[in-house]
């Protein structure tokens, strides 16, 4: 007798995501479905606009990956116009990318994912002195884990709990049997959870120094950057450097040690060390450091085999919509993609309710269409993208910086390489990717200083010829994985635009051949301890760092009319 569990909303993510799973009589997941339940239609909005505006508009795909789509939109147009921005602009963009990684990954681990690993209620029972000693096991200089600091954290949260209203911490899965940290370890993570709220503000300021604000920076322009005064101001450079060191300190003394602690404790929890699902990984080179090298390497790893690295052929990227709420199903290259919505809604059914009884509910129509996300494929195969892919591809490519960091982690954590292909590995890989920016970001900064001695250029000149047609793309790697934007320009305005984003690769529904994407595949085989508290599902999905507004398919490259969904204004409440 199978049962169905619906988790909607998946919280602590960007966007609107629903997960449905089928469990057998032993509560083991036998099937899983991932669905985005929001469509915004930005693909129609960007058409017929000034190509210089594409970056600003595309940036609004996501306020979390706030720099990623901005840079992608600007770079795709630069690629179409065949412009190379000056070196200063390239390096400032790299520094902003590093700022984003240093911001995004710790925020993901603590604010969004941490409560899947750390039981706050248990932390209140901890002995702060014992906890303080434990922290030294994972770091020579642990941060915010002195007994006095831990006592203060405990008092603050205890006081909060005593007030009766738990606010954002109410009704969670506290006490769940797959929480594995001891009360003392929980207290350490809780202390870092609170510290991170402060650190993330500083990390955001790193981007704002050159980018004006975060989220949604505003200093890129087609051809380069505009914040030339900040770049030429040594005090601003110093501001970036000191904030970089401050955040790096948190990564080294809190984030990385906590991941080591999680690796030690959770390696015995079956739901987090089960295989990753999709065995193929794709990563594209990114973060140029100024000497022709990149922090991330390009390539594809298949079947978990890091002894072989395959080159990426951009022509083999396709997306299909067999199970997505769009009309045209066949796999198409992003330059030829179609995006005509065809919403078919939910069907009536039953799922496990709050009290473990079967209740009537809405269910995804999984034989038909069930998500606003499409299914990207490379040469017909699903690919996992993101930090795990970046580390795995980096190892396969013998990227020296990634190899150093990854080997150190395997040594520190005593995990075998194969254990990395899991929920735990994915979460750890994000910390390693963050460490890549923390350890080597300084190289970019130094390149900039060196270059500024002889070169003040920040913007390349260009013209958009209204009588010419252009097409171009950006491909690179952002905090959630490989991102590409594809643009065509005609009559001086955008004719069509397409984005294939990391969460689309990971969160898409199955394809015409029944191949599951990484979210769905990663859930199969997990045993759920308590069907009314599916913490194992949340933890697995969060390990991908879902960014769902990004992944909802973006552009109708053929300019198709969406006539049947035209709304009759007379029926609206205005």
């Amino acid at each position: 007798m199978t049962k169905r569990i619906v988790v909607d909303p998946i919280t602590r993510i960007e966007g609107h995501l629903r997960i449905e799973v089928v469990v057998d009589e032993n509560n083991v997941i036998t099937d899983a479905f991932s669905s985005s339940t929001l469509w915004r239609g930005l693909e129609k909005v960007v058409q017929n606009r000034d190509p210089r505006d594409a970056g600003f508009l595309m940036q609004r795909i996501c306020g979390v990956c706030t720099f990623s789509h901005y840079k992608a939109g600007i770079s795709a147009v630069e690629n179409a116009l065949n412009i190379t921005p000056p070196k200063n602009a390239e390096l400032i963009r790299s520094l902003m990318n590093i700022s984003l990684v240093l911001h995004d990954h710790p925020v993901h681990f603590y604010t969004l994912h941490g409560l899947d690993w750390c039981d706050i209620v248990s932390a209140l029972k901890a002995d702060p002195h014992k906890a303080s000693n434990i922290a030294f096991k994972y770091s020579n200089f642990p941060m915010n884990t002195g007994a006095d600091e831990l006592k203060a954290v405990q008092a603050k949260v205890t006081d909060f709990v005593k007030k009766g209203a738990l606010g954002p911490f109410a009704n969670a899965y506290w006490g769940h049997k797959t929480y594995r940290f001891s009360p003392e370890q929980n207290l350490i993570v809780l202390s870092h959870y609170l510290k991170l709220l402060e650190v993330q503000r500083v990390a955001a300021q790193m981007m704002a120094i050159f980018g004006s604000k975060q989220p949604h920076p505003q200093n890129l322009t087609v051809g380069g950057i505009t914040s030339v005064m900040d770049v030429l101001d040594p005090s601003r450079l110093g501001e970036w450097l000191s904030k970089y060191q401050y955040v790096k300190d948190f990564v080294d003394r809190a984030y990385y040690p906590d991941i080591l602690m999680a690796a030690e404790v959770y390696k015995n929890e079956p739901s987090v060390i089960k295989g990753s699902g999709v065995p193929n990984f794709l990563c594209y080179e990114e973060i140029p450091i100024g000497n022709g090298e990149y922090l991330y390497s390009s390539g594809i790893v298949r079947d978990y085999d890091i002894t072989k690295l395959y080159d990426i052929n951009e022509d083999l990227i396709t997306e299909e919509a067999t199970h997505s709420w769009y009309k045209d199903n066949e796999p198409l290259h992003p330059y030829d993609g179609k995006t005509e919505p065809e919403y078919t809604g939910f069907k009536d059914g039953n799922s496990i309710g709050p009290d473990l009884k079967d209740v009537k509910t809405k269910l995804l129509d999984v034989d038909g269409k069930y998500s606003w996300i499409k299914s990207p494929r490379y040469d017909g195969a699903p690919m996992e993208v993101g930090p795990l892919a970046a580390i795995v591809v980096g190892l396969a490519a013998k990227n020296p910086r990634i190899t150093t960091i990854a080997e150190q982690f395997l040594k520190d954590s005593k995990l075998p390489l194969k254990a990395v292909f899991s929920t735990l590995g994915r979460t750890a890989a994000r910390a390693l990717e963050c460490k890549l920016s923390a350890d080597y970001g300084i190289e970019v900064f130094n390149s900039l200083i060196e270059n500024l001695k002889t070169d003040k250029a920040t913007c390349a000149k260009y013209e958009i010829d209204k009588n010419k047609e252009y097409k171009g793309r950006y491909i690179g790697n952002v905090p959630r994985g490989t991102l590409s934007h594809w643009v065509r320009i005609k009559n001086g305005v955008i004719e069509n635009y397409q984005a294939v984003v990391p969460s689309t690769w990971n969160a898409g529904p199955r394809d015409a051949n029944g191949q599951k994407g990484p979210y769905e595949a990663s859930l199969i085989g997990i045993k759920i301890a308590n069907l009314a508290q599916p913490l194992e599902i949340i933890r697995t999905i969060h390990s991908f760092d879902p960014c769902i507004a990004c992944s909802v398919h973006l552009i109708d490259t053929k300019g198709n009319k969406m006539g049947e969904y035209k709304v009759n204004p007379a029926t609206l409440r205005v």
Partner: protein, 386 residues
């Protein structure tokens, strides 16, 4: 002595009356008395405690009932924050707040009952939090909404929860019992990017989804100061702020970006960046000619900046794109051309006046635009003469 006591008694009584009217949450499980009773502490025991406290505070025994009442009133304001069609940038902006910091906001000022980016609960437990907050704190919670709302026959473009509830329905229900409603960001204030031409999902501002009054806090995103400031105004002054024609708080949106711009001196002197990367850009000249919409945009960016005063777009050498104005994606584009000098004609042509000429704001903007153009031309001429 007696008189003094009488005076302080009536003062305290007055303050408690005020407090009672204040939008404070009592407690989720009911008031504090019920909680105590559920924990085996009777009303009699509670009053004994109040008497002891009163004595500890060296107050006359007549204050005992007042002490009890004050304890019952302690609490934080419940907040319900909903995500509609959005990018989560406004929530991210909220997280950047430094004075007060986000942890202090959550721990000391408010009770964040529902916020999908931060809350620990998921799935039906999350939905339960929303439903019980709306029920338990009826008339006492503040609703903050992020994102445009697909509406009318297009509501299905956003559903949330196991029952597939549309965003519009959820927003309407939450608005019903709210004490105050804030539309956080340009999307919920004015529809935002998804509502830009041709608005494929028929996305609407919150004010068109509910009949209740909505305070707009626009910006893409609004600065952390404007989000938290809106909340603090309510907490500190116990009233709603004064609003402009677009329902924006005037403390934040009362002046144009241009009015307090750090590059204003260069505007007045006729010194303009002609193209990004030129010598004028290195010298901090005015960005009007590369498309700055500061003269048409009402916000406090030029005064307060973003990310704890770190910077703002004009400081970073890029013109304002007008993100806190209604329909700015259509009326302010292209963003790197002055309005008076459009290279690419838009659907609306000109200043968009043919679309929205009936709103006073746009008429004013058009007048400003002409003024600006003239001002710039004159300043430029003066400079050339020199």
């Amino acid at each position: 002595m007696f008189n003094e006591d009488n005076q302080s008694y009536s003062n305290t009584l007055k303050r408690l009356d005020e407090l009672e009217k204040m939008p404070v949450q009592v407690n989720k499980e009911g008031d504090i008395r019920e909680i105590l009773e559920n924990n085996g502490i009777s009303r009699r025991d509670f009053m004994k405690w109040a008497a002891a406290m009163t004595a500890t505070l060296a107050l006359p025994s007549s204050f005992i009932p007042l002490t009890a009442r004050a304890a019952e009133l302690a609490g934080r304001i419940p907040i319900v924050w909903l995500h509609m069609a959005e990018c989560t940038g406004c929530s991210e902006s909220l997280l950047r707040s430094s004075t007060p910091s986000i942890d202090s906001i959550i721990f000391d000022y408010i009770s964040l009952e529902y916020h999908e980016t931060v809350m620990a609960a998921s799935g039906w437990q999350a939905e339960e939090n929303l439903h019980s907050a709306i029920k338990d704190y009826k008339g006492k919670y503040i609703l903050m909404v992020e994102g445009g709302i697909p509406s009318g026959e297009s509501e299905f473009y956003l559903t949330i929860g196991a029952e597939g509830t549309t965003g519009a329905k959820s927003a309407r229900e939450a608005a019903e019992g709210a004490m105050a409603i804030f539309a956080i960001g340009t999307c919920s204030s004015f529809g935002g990017v998804q509502a830009a031409d041709p608005n494929p999902t028929n996305a609407m501002p919150l004010s068109k989804i509910t009949n209740k009054p909505v305070i707009n806090v626009p910006g893409c995103p609004p600065s952390e100061k404007n989000i938290v400031g809106s909340l603090l105004h309510f907490i500190l002054f116990k009233t709603l702020p004064a609003l402009d024609a677009y329902n924006r708080p005037t403390w934040a949106y009362g002046l144009r970006i241009h009015d307090l711009c750090e590059r204003r001196g260069h505007f007045d002197a006729g010194e303009f960046v002609q193209h990004f990367g030129d010598e004028g850009a290195q010298n901090g000249y005015c960005l009007y000619k590369v498309g700055c919409k500061g003269p048409y945009t009402f916000n406090n960016c030029s005064r307060l900046g973003f990310n704890d005063h770190t910077s703002w777009p004009v400081k970073a050498g890029h013109g304002c794109i007008g993100c806190s104005e209604p329909n700015f994606w259509d009326t302010m584009r292209p963003f790197e051309e002055p309005l008076a000098n459009r290279l690419y004609s838009t659907k609306f042509d000109g200043l968009g006046a043919d679309k929205t000429a009936d709103t006073i704001g746009v008429v004013l903007l058009s007048a400003t635009a002409i003024g600006i153009a003239a001002h710039a031309a004159i300043s430029s001429m003066i400079k050339n003469k020199e």
